[in-house]
Symmetry: C2
């Protein structure tokens, strides 16, 4: 008998039929002898509808109230799933984030879990019932309703799996797993049977949309095996677990791309120590996550500093950079949203030095210009023109024989 | 400075525009120097939509999960109202039933409030902010989400007004107050400036749909003045308060009607003590509220017992009656849904004995047959054919000069 946390995302519970299908799957798991804790998201586009409603009502949206609003969605799903399970003779009990003991800090709309008090869930499991928990939400140490931000339901599932000592955390979604690249761009993309936490972190960070970065981090830190699979076909998906060091690693596991970043360049910065630090401190103070940074060494005494940020942070980044132009003695700021990042991820890169060379050769052969580059031990990311991104992905997928 | 509890029903918060109008009214009350606690219902038809969704998903609907589902609606309204108030510069904080300290018993879908722990609301008021509280919901002594059943949001508002010692509880709705009869039937119906709790109880019990019976009972028991008014015109409405014994009472205040009752007759019951008790004990055990009862004295040793019940209780009432036919030695059961109850309510009836006579004369003059009759000290109710009800209402409204 295993203890499984099964998380069902918005598309998996989008309507009454889907909810009944999920109930059927949970019931099968129970009948197979496993204990199940279900974690659910809001149905389909519910959250988007609530956001639109808020925009219709008010320009001033206190974050505490945004959390109160958005947390309504999961309540609906979890109550309905419990009803569908009751129809199948499976006893189930729904729990809000607060009732499930998911205690967070007080940062509304992007709270962090600080503690899980799982007594009620454990009692429910001991009684033979299925706890159905609202994903994405918790209760703060100030007793207010909080939400966990992007990918919050995945984080709820992983955190519960860790707290309950679950054998696995199954993330059900509308794709059958993690692919070697986006199948919409490369039809011969291959589903990966197994990916290490480290690879999955890089895939999530560079545009793979299947799992949110923070839930993978949480899983790695707490050694929770993740299984990403489809709630439409129910076939085995992709297992995300510790790196298997007993086997030779694939050099490159996946090619990702992300067109949501933008590039900011501060022009004509005097080549003096501390000026760049001032810029990045200013950005950090406004909570902007800077990704790539390029600063050429200069022979003229002046240099251009380029960096990339998430597209939604472009406005505030530009504002910060422009406000610092006088103090830095720079000559101006340029921005460019027409860029995309193409990344190669693979644990085997650590021991295969030829990856960078083949990447450059492949992109050069396609006439794709690399504007910026950044690397980690298991990733290479290239910033290219947005219009070149899909061609780059296809060429790299073929060159590294991932099909 | 007064402390006002202002309750806004579903039609008052049906869309973004209505919510902004409500925020504007709350802001005006604040600027006029009053403290306000707002209580809100789910938006428009939200609750109906959730009920339909549940019906689509499941035939088995555990009541605990029904409550979890239905309680989502008010969260949406209260968060949106707080946002709209923020837009107007009024600080507001939303509270779920649980956060507002509304503690109920454990009877899901029709819980009763057992205690109000108002500390958080009092702190919020002391800080100069407007607490916006979810109507209709609470948290049980078992820490589960509960709902209060029909008219639950009115009950929440009155209970909070009592607990906070508010100066008045304003119930905002889509009509301008309590009328001398249904204006859809009698266009010259008059809005009543003031009604006593006792009259309002009889009006609510006999078909006046403006306020739920239990909220009026609660208001009377805790001496909370109620003010029923429109959130569309904002004009002064109807005040419901202690009876004003210093003035002469109107003989009849209002004519109500209710076509939702049904009549059940147990035929040929032997005239022996205890048989009727057995019938009504059986109905009580199934939670059926019996309204009128008629049992003629018999000269033949057998009698017919007729009683009326809410239409939704007809099936179970018939089942109970039929199951007792053998034990009672009765000859059968007849049911009749084609009836309506017409009632006259007025505190002045207590001292004016002629009301019954004029009622009978008026209905006889219209050719309306009275099938059953029941009275209290301030009410006369007549069961008539459903098709005769509106004619009866018009004739009585005119005869007692209520226009």
């Amino acid at each position: 008998m295993s203890l499984l946390v099964q998380k069902f995302g918005g598309t998996s519970v989008a309507d009454a039929d889907r909810i009944r299908a999920v109930a059927d799957h949970v019931a099968r798991s129970r009948r197979a002898g496993d204990q199940v804790v279900a974690v659910v998201s809001a149905m389909g586009k519910t959250t988007d509808q609530l956001v639109r409603l808020a925009d219709d009502v008010s320009a001033t949206q206190p974050r505490r109230e945004v959390d109160m609003l958005l947390s309504a969605g999961e309540r609906i799903t979890m109550a309905l799933l419990c009803m569908a399970l009751a129809d199948l003779g499976v006893e189930a009990v729904s729990f809000t984030g607060s009732q499930a003991g998911i205690i967070t800090d007080t940062v509304h709309t992007r709270a962090k879990i600080v503690e899980i008090r799982a007594e009620r869930l454990l009692e429910t499991l001991a009684a033979g019932a299925v706890p159905v928990v609202a994903g994405f939400q918790g209760v703060s140490t100030d007793r207010d309703v909080t939400t966990l931000g992007r990918g919050g339901s995945d984080t709820t599932a992983v955190a519960l799996a860790a707290a309950l000592g679950a054998d696995a955390c199954e993330i059900y979604t509308d794709v059958t797993g993690v692919f070697s690249t986006d199948p919409r761009i490369v039809p011969e993309a291959r589903k990966l049977a197994k990916v290490s936490y480290e690879e999955m972190l890089e895939i999530a960070a560079t545009g793979g949309r299947v799992l949110a970065l923070r839930s993978v981090e949480f899983a790695r830190n707490h050694h929770v095996p993740l299984h990403v699979r489809s709630s439409f076909t129910w076939e085995p998906g992709t297992l995300i677990d510790e790196e298997d060091t007993t086997m030779e690693q694939a050099v490159v596991t996946a090619i990702t791309h992300d067109a949501s970043e933008a590039k900011v360049t501060v022009l004509g910065v005097p080549d003096q120590p501390g000026l760049a630090a001032r810029l990045f401190r200013g950005l950090a103070d406004r909570n902007v996550s800077v990704d790539m940074i390029v600063q050429n060494t200069s022979t003229t005494g002046r240099t251009d500093i380029s960096f990339t940020v998430p597209g939604y942070d472009l406005a505030v980044s530009t504002e910060v950079a422009e406000s610092l132009v006088p103090a830095m003695g720079a000559s101006g700021v340029e921005t460019d949203s027409d860029v995309a990042r193409v990344s190669l991820v693979g644990a085997g890169m650590k021991t295969h030095p030829g990856v960078t060379a083949l990447t450059f050769e492949t992109l050069a052969g396609e006439g794709v210009n690399i504007e910026m580059i950044s690397t980690s031990s298991i990733r290479i990311s290239c910033m290219v023109r947005a219009g070149d991104a899909e061609r780059a992905v296809r060429a790299l997928h073929a060159a590294f024989e991932l099909g």
